[in-house]
Each structure stands twice: as C-alpha cells, then as structure tokens.
Symmetry: C2
Subunit: 310 residues, 2 copies
C-alpha cells in the first residue's frame, strides 16, 4: 500500500505470482470503503482461479504499519488519521490470518524468501524512493524493536542542522539519500556552480532520479557530482550501520537504486573508506533480486508466508 | 578478561556468586601459560566447595572475542597476537562447555539474566570505560551479526575528521564518550577557556572520570561543561541508535557512568531533543543493576548459562 496506489497479488509459498491488480489508495476518505473495494478485488482475483487457489493469509506492506499491533499508526502520507487497526479490519472481511509491516521490512522478507538473501541470516534492505526506508534482518528475523518501529535508518542524523526533513527535524539521511534527496543535491549544485547542465532546464517538481541518471549518461557534470555526493553520504552512513549490525550484505532498491553503478560505485568506495578495519572487504552492496514490478507484492507475501510457517 | 586483570567467579543459574578471584592477564607472554594459571585457579575455587559445586560450563567476556569462532581475534589490548582459539583451549583444559564473547555483550547477557533487563527483549547496554562498548539485544538475543563483531557503537563516526581513535580512524564516538573521551574533552576545554579549574593541577595521565565528577561536585565549571558536552554527543548518538533498534531501555555502566546524574541527565535531554517524534518519552536510560564488583563475572556467567539452557 502506497500513498497513491495499492498493489495486490496472489503468491504461492515459493514466490510464484498467480495474478495481480491495483486500486487507488486515495479515492476514499473513509478507510472502511477503501477496504471494501480492496477486499472485493482480492476475492475476485481468487475467484478467477475457479477453486484452484486457496487463500491462506494476507500480508501487507504499508506506511507506518506496526507489525506488533497490526495497525497503521499516524501515517503522514495517508489520508486516514490516527491509528487504523488494518490487520483486524481486513481479517474480519476475508477471514484469513493477516500480518502487516512497513514497506522496507516487507522488502527484506521478500528478499530473504524469494530474492538475493535466501541463505542470509544478517542483512539489510534499503529502499531509495521518495524517502529512505530500511528493513534490517538479524539472526534470520526482522528487527521490529520494542514498539515495532525499528529500522528508521532514513531518520538517522547525518548533517547537523542540515536539510529540513518531513519528520520535522533537520539533517536526516533521507533528505540527502533518496530519489528526493538527490534532486535537492542537484539543485544545490546548480545553485553553487556555474557548469552547464541539461538539468538547468527541468523544474524541481518534474526532476526525477531517472533524469539525473540519463544526464550522467550524457556526461553531465552536475549529474555526476550529485551521484558522487549521494554515494559519499550513503557510504559513510553504511560504515556506521555495519559497525552496529555486521551484515553479510546490504541490498539497495527503489528509484535511486535503478541508477546502477552511478550510485552503487561511490557508495561502496565511501563505505569501505570509512569502515572499521575488521569489516573491510567483507560486506557486499547488491541490487535487489526481486523482480522490479512484483517487489512490493513479493515482500508482503513473504511476510505472511513466514508468519504461517513459523 | 581485561588487558591487565582477569576476574573469575563461580555463579549459579540464578546469579548467586559462590566465590571469586583474579589473576594478572599480562604476566605471561605465552597464552598457554596464562591459561594454565587461570584454569588451575578455577579448579582450586571449585575444589574449595568440597564437592558441593559442580562446574557446568565456563563463560568468558574478553576483548575482541568472537562468539561464533570461540576465538579472540587480533585484540589490540592484549599481548597475544593474531587469532587465539580461547574457547577450545579452555575446554581442553577443564572439559566443560565454554562460550566467549566481548565484555559488552557479556554485560548485556548479565543484565538480561540477573539485572535490570530481566523482562526485556530489546535493549542496549553501553560500557563507558577506557573505550565505549555496546551489547545490543534484539528479540531476546545478542546481535552478533554475520561475523560475530556487531555492536561496535564506540566506532560510529560522530565528528568528521575528529579526534584520533585507537582503531586508526578519526572522530569515533568513543574518542568523545568514554572515561578517556571526557578526559580529552576536559583538556580541550582547559585549552580553550580561561576559567579557573582544579583540573588544571592534574596531568593528563593521572586524570580520571572520578576526578572530573568530584570537581563538578565542588562547582568546577570546566568539569560541568565536560559532562554537558559528553552527554550531548552521547544523547545525539543514542537518538540515532533508537531509530535503528527501538530499544525499551539503554543501560549505562562503567567508570564514566559512575558519575550518575552528571552524565545521565544531559544524555537523556539531548537524546529526547534529537529523537524522531514516534520514539519520544518511550526509551529509558538507566544505570546497570548488576552489582558493580561482580558485573563482569555475572555477564560471563549469563553467557554460558544461556548457552546451556537454549
């Protein structure tokens, strides 16, 4: 579930997708009506199989979703205010077990069950989209923490009194390292430097990580510097993260990660440069192995299949 | 096992100590001779009970000790170079199960089994001695990470190009926040400011956290400012740690923690000030509840009792 769209799909235990669909998240002001529509669409998808598919459970990746409470709690990017007991609301409509967590934790579970982390017990998944989310796995389990909200790497402070963050504070990692963060870096560079750049033609609201990546392909200096700066800040933060968690690998996914080497290379260089000696050349930085279009759905499926198996 | 002394004790499952002792760690250049002496002392302590005590296992907290491999690996503070397979070397001498980990992880296990974290599943123990160590517990288990060296909070970077650290890098947290770190802060303040201070009489090598604490008791401005600065840096770092782990509590112990309110108060203030809204007023900062003299021994005992029980 994102702020704009909700994607859903039928996934078996092995990660095979048997059909999928999507509805708008933001057409209904009343969450009950939204869930009526969503559950009707899910039932329809199951019905299509003519009895061949039995629905065993529902996993949900949603903003500010709390695994423990089964509720979405004070999500700034959703219309519905306060605490929404999503798991029980879906469960009462469809009558199967429901588990929820945030998008990044779901992505980590998807990576562990169906992606590149199949044999890993300690790894981290970082989603680089509008913000920066992280799903952290320790000893084969997602780190939810005491209250279910652990893994907020996007809100670690990296620059004292730095860029304003949506969380109300300043200098959070996601204000520098995310699809939005690199846009801000491009604009900062365009303001500071005199180099020609095709990015001077694009208004802030239209600029995307893809534009920046394409400009870099054409040798645009500002674009190249923006990736370098972004990778430097991410790499430096990852060195700290490695000191705390000692993961086997760190997976990057989402819009900014699609830029490939432009972001992976400087991230790796600056992580290694800042690592404590004992961790050097030990931690891989890898692209997610979940098929791009189904990553969200596979993550949510991973959550509920793990739940049912445990 | 510390760089100078090795303490040992007989501890039952409930944390009752039946006798203890200590030997020098650094008298023998040959680790075999050191272990001969240590194991003889342990056997003697057990023999004293005249058959009433049965030795079930040995837990060891030691610098750079790797839980997975059972070895001390490249410990800068010990005489013995390279990789020392400590667990098997002790096991072959005494014939009981042996588990080892670093001091901070052992402290966390001690706190969980016998101290203030008895009912906690997610908490962190921070040792503020010569350096800063951390034992992190997630879901009731210590975070060892992929290679056994997770939990190096002392080596998270807090000041770019900051103070030189024993690890060979600059600006690590422990160069500011530890018994040694606050000494460095005092000297920085004495250099920068003109205020009178009793601490101007004490050479760097003799200055202790206790001196600074006693000076603060007498209203010494430099001492007070040093605690404030130390708590500010620790509190800010803890805000980031909370965002990642969402612990129920953070325990402080060791020389600097003995300063009580002088260090706890600013730490709490600056942690709260820097926390993401969802974590505010939720995370306690507490003194360790392990009896000071036995903290190390109880931690090591906690490690092996947990091992035997699991």
């Amino acid at each position: 579930m994102g702020g704009t769209f909700t994607k859903f799909g039928l996934v078996d235990r092995k990660g095979k997708v048997y059909g999928s669909g999507s509805i708008s998240t933001d057409t209904h002001k009343d969450v009950e009506l939204y869930l009526d529509e969503l559950c009707a669409a899910i039932r329809k998808l199951v019905a299509k199989s003519e009895g061949k598919i039995e629905l065993r459970g529902i996993g949900v990746g949603a903003p500010n979703a709390n695994y423990y409470s089964g509720a979405i709690e004070f999500a700034p990017n959703l219309k519905w205010r306060g605490v929404i007991p999503l798991a029980s609301m879906i469960g009462s409509r469809i009558g199967v077990p429901v588990a929820i967590t945030n998008d990044a934790n779901a992505a980590a579970l998807g990576e562990m069950m169906y992606g590149g982390a199949k044999n890993m017990k300690n790894f981290i998944v970082i989603t680089l989209g509008t913000g920066l989310g992280s799903g952290i796995v320790v000893n084969g389990g997602v780190v939810y923490g005491h209250d279910g909200f652990a893994g907020e790497l996007g809100h670690v402070n990296v620059i004292e009194d730095g860029r304003h963050c949506g969380c109300g504070r300043k200098g959070c990692l996601e204000t520098y390292v995310s699809a939005t963060g690199i846009k801000r870096t491009v604009y900062e560079l365009l303001a500071r430097r005199n180099d020609e750049s095709e990015l001077r033609k694009i208004p802030f609201e239209k600029l995307t990580a893809k534009n920046i990546s394409e400009a870099a392909d054409r040798g645009d200096l500002i674009a190249a510097k923006a990736f370098e700066m972004t990778g430097r800040i991410l790499g430096k933060s990852l060195a700290d993260v490695v000191a705390l968690f000692s993961p086997e690998a760190i997976f990057l996914l989402g819009g900014l990660a699609m830029a490939g080497d432009y972001i992976f290379k400087p991230t790796k260089v600056y992580m290694e440069k800042n690592l404590l000696t004992i961790f050097r050349d030990k931690v891989s930085i890898l692209p997610s192995e979940l098929v791009k279009d189904n990553a969200a759905v596979l993550g949510a499926a991973g959550l509920i299949w793990k739940e049912i198996s445990d």
